[in-house]
Every structure is written in structure tokens, then in C-alpha cells.
């Protein structure tokens, strides 16, 4: 090979860049986040009533679009009524509806958001719930 060392250095850089994800993980399996749904407000409810505004799959995949839609509907149209797929009516409010049950932002919202590198701007306007800081964060 001509100019072998130059080509080998170039190839080494290429391989290092494209396998960067493997090195950063160092072969360790990452734990899957488990958002906690054991807040006092949820525990108070009977087992059968423990339901979010929509079904679990919809909430897991599409909650951000629902919340965004809620924001527009409540603040721009002044309409705070939401009828879900089962015909049940909910009051549109992040603070008073969502966070009433899911009062554990750190153990609920942040779990998956940190895992997938998502930083929603909810808390630019809303006040994040006060939570006891975890021991390892002090």
C-alpha cells in the first residue's frame, strides 16, 4: 500500500467515529427506566379507577402531542374541557389534572425524558412540583 500510514490513520479515525456508540456504552447493558406510578394520589384510588386520561399505549407514545394540544385549546381557545375516547370529561390543566396524580416529576417525567434525551419546555412557564431531593442528589 502506498502512503500506508496516512491511510491507516484515516481508516482508524473512520472506524473510531463510526463505532463511537459502542465505546461509549462499553458493552454495558443500560437499565430501562421505570417511571413510578405509586404517588399518594394514585394509591388513594381503587384499582379499577387507576386510569390516565387515555389508554397506556396512547399516553406512552403520544402524551406530548396531547399536552401540546391541551395548551393550545386552553390558552388560545379558552376551552378547558377534554372528552377522552371513552366519552369521559377531564379538566384541561397540567398542574391540576396531570400533576395531581403524577406529582413525582423526578420519578415519573424525568425518568424517560432523561433516558431518551428529551428536554420539554413545560417548566419554562409552569412551576415544577416541590419534591424532596433524593439522598444521592444532595
Amino acid at each position: 500500500m502506498y502512503d500506508a500510514w496516512k491511510i491507516l490513520v484515516g481508516l482508524a479515525i473512520f472506524v473510531a467515529l463510526f463505532t463511537a456508540a459502542f465505546w461509549m456504552n462499553a458493552g454495558k447493558a443500560a437499565p430501562v427506566p421505570e417511571p413510578k406510578i405509586d404517588t399518594p394520589e394514585i394509591k388513594k384510588m381503587a384499582k379499577a379507577e387507576r386510569k390516565c386520561v387515555e389508554d397506556k399505549h396512547f399516553m406512552r407514545t403520544t402524551h406530548m402531542q396531547l399536552i401540546n394540544h391541551w395548551r393550545d385549546q386552553a390558552l388560545r381557545d379558552g376551552n378547558r374541557d377534554y372528552i377522552n375516547k371513552d366519552g369521559k370529561k377531564y379538566y384541561i390543566s397540567l398542574q391540576n389534572t396531570c400533576m395531581k396524580c403524577h406529582s413525582n416529576k423526578k420519578d415519573f417525567c424525568d425518568k424517560c425524558h432523561d433516558y431518551t434525551g428529551v428536554s420539554p419546555y413545560c417548566w419554562d412557564c409552569h412551576i415544577a412540583p416541590k419534591e424532596e431531593p433524593k439522598r444521592n442528589e444532595l
Binding site: Y2, L11, F14, N25, G27, A29, T61, V118
Partner: protein, 333 residues
């Protein structure tokens, strides 16, 4: 090849991949194939194929320097020279290569020929350069952004890139600027090939196929993010599993994810054997990466071997008697 055939073949190939992935996503045993085996295989083909192509080029001798020059060569000290267009040493070559690789300088010099009042005139045409720049940088940012799904914990620079890319804060999840740029730029590069008659004439199926493939990747990605939502936590479980060599196959990931992955895997596996290898080739272009020192330095052909000489003196020694007998004059008696 006829343009309709080229377009049909390349579009048909991309649609076939989409269809196969859609079918594969319905069967759990095939999900294993399309979610784990195919991506790994494609990645290995990409890395090994890329190395093979580069080494193959590295083994090709370039006995004489053939830089493309379009500027004044280094000569007498009072003649103004062009260091980038006619580099005379490694440093100037590096300057030329940096501008080529990061700013696509040779596309910037792209001109367009037009007939005006009976004369052919050449004018600057920056659209190709702009489209190529928008496409390549968007693709780079999108690729780096995807590290959020392959690395745990997510590196800080990926989060920053994500925030900057989504800074318009349109909708939720936020619209990425690079998504718009990528799809817009690839569409432009495609339309340009089809609409401009000269481009259409020289375009083949292997020009259209990568464009359709990348457009398909972009569209399936945008659909997955904004319209046909999938559970991103399960997706990361799979992707980070791939990148940590602990592959897992979570249940309930939507079919659109498998379409996206199948298209990306195709791109990876196809890359080393296609025109897309210009990514590696730009570094190994003798027209770009050699200093114009043809006359300033001695260049010896690398496969020159010591030539076996037989001088006239030796010849005369061999045949002196015979030459004398035949009356041929000799230099030494």
C-alpha cells in the same frame, strides 16, 4: 438507460424494501431479523466494505502527480501565485483539502453555460453547492443527534445539539430544523436531476436510488416522530441494546420503526459499493490531495526495477573478432 426505467427501478427498489419491512414487522420472529440481525449485518458490511474500498485505492499506484490545477504555479518570486489552486507543499494541500471536505469548494466553482445573443457564456451557479451543503450538514447533525438513542447516559453535547436543532419550539415533540433542510435539499437534488435535461441525460438508476433511499429514511423518520408515533423508550431499549452488544427486542414497537431501520440498514450495506463512497474517496483523490511538485522535485516510478544494461562496449567485446572479419570499424582493437 431510459430515464423512466431508471426512476422506476430505483423507486421500485426502495418501495420493495418498505414493503418487506412492513411485512416483517407483523411477525415477531421476523422482528428479530429486521430489528437486530439485519442492522448488525449491514453495519459490519459497511465498516469492512469501507475499509476494503479505501485499501484497494491505497494499493493503486499514482506514479506521476496529477493534481487538478487552475491557478498560477509557484515559479519566479515576483509572479503572484495561487496557493489553493496550485499547492506546492503539504501544508497548502491540507488547506485545499479542508476547504474541499468541509466547504465543498469544487462545487462552489460550479458554473452554468448559457446562450446569450448567439454567444455561449459561463456564469456562477451556487444552487448545487448550497443544496449539497444543506444536505450533508443536516445529515451529519441528524446522525449525531441519533446518539441519544444509542448511548446511555446521553452525552451532554448530544442534548445541546438536540436543543439547538429544535429551538424553533414548534409543536411537541419539537420540529427539527435539520429535518426540514434534509428533506428539502434531497428533494432539490432529485428534482434537479429530473428537470435539467443535461442532468437527466447523465443520470442513472444508481444516481436516483440513493436519493430515493435517503428521502425514504427522512420521510419515515419524520412520520415516526410526528405522525405515526412509536414508544420511544422501547425504541431506545432496542437501539441501545444493539450498541451495547446486549441486543433485546421489546414488544409493541410500531411497524414504521422497522421500515426506518430497514431503509437505514440498506443505506449502510449499499454505501461501500456505490457512488456514496465519495465520502472516503474525496480524501484519496489524486487530483486533490497531491501537491503540484511535478517539476520542482524528482518523482521516481514506484515499480521501476534496475534495468539490465548491455553497453556498446560490452557488445563490441562480444563480437569484436566477427566485426573485424566483416570489415566493420571497431572503437578498440
Amino acid at each position: 438507460m431510459d430515464v423512466k426505467v431508471s426512476l422506476g427501478v430505483s423507486l421500485g427498489a426502495v418501495l420493495a424494501i418498505v414493503l418487506v419491512a412492513l411485512v416483517g414487522a407483523q411477525v415477531s420472529s421476523l422482528q428479530l431479523v429486521f430489528g437486530i440481525l439485519v442492522p448488525y449485518a449491514a453495519f459490519v458490511i459497511f465498516i469492512l466494505g469501507f475499509i476494503y474500498r479505501v485499501v484497494d485505492w491505497g494499493r493503486s499506484p499514482v506514479p506521476f502527480r496529477i493534481p487538478t490545477t487552475c491557478g498560477q504555479q509557484k515559479t519566479l518570486p515576483w509572479i503572484k501565485r495561487n496557493k489553493l489552486e496550485c499547492p506546492s507543499n503539504t501544508l497548502e494541500v491540507i488547506g485545499r483539502m479542508i476547504l474541499e471536505v468541509f466547504a465543498f469548494r469544487s462545487l462552489f466553482k460550479h458554473t452554468k453555460a448559457e446562450m446569450a445573443s448567439g454567444n455561449i457564456i459561463y456564469g456562477g451557479s451556487k444552487w448545487l453547492w448550497l443544496g449539497a451543503l444543506a444536505f450533508h450538514y443536516s445529515f451529519l447533525i441528524i446522525a449525531v443527534r441519533h446518539l441519544r438513542l444509542f448511548v446511555e447516559p446521553v452525552p451532554a453535547f448530544v442534548n445541546v445539539l438536540d436543543l439547538v436543532d429544535g429551538m424553533l419550539q414548534i409543536g411537541a415533540p419539537t420540529l427539527y430544523i435539520t429535518d426540514i433542510l434534509l428533506i428539502g435539499a434531497v428533494s432539490y437534488l432529485f428534482v434537479r436531476r429530473v428537470i435539467v435535461p443535461k442532468m437527466r441525460y447523465i443520470s442513472l438508476a444508481n444516481d436516483y436510488f440513493p436519493l430515493f433511499l435517503i428521502l425514504g429514511i427522512g420521510i419515515s423518520g419524520v412520520l415516526m416522530r410526528f405522525f405515526i408515533r412509536v414508544d420511544i423508550v422501547s425504541v431506545k431499549e432496542l437501539t441501545v441494546g444493539l450498541a451495547s452488544l446486549h441486543p433485546v427486542l421489546p414488544e409493541g414497537i410500531g411497524a414504521i420503526f422497522f421500515v426506518h431501520v430497514a431503509l437505514v440498514s440498506t443505506l449502510f450495506a449499499y454505501f461501500p459499493f456505490s457512488k456514496l463512497m465519495h465520502a472516503g474517496g474525496v480524501f484519496l483523490s489524486p487530483g486533490r490531495n497531491l501537491a503540484n511538485t511535478n517539476r520542482a522535485k524528482m518523482h521516481v516510478n514506484p515499480w521501476n526495477y534496475p534495468v539490465k544494461l548491455h553497453t556498446y562496449e560490452e557488445y563490441e567485446n562480444d563480437f569484436r573478432e566477427k566485426m573485424k572479419n566483416a570489415g566493420i570499424p571497431v572503437e578498440r582493437e
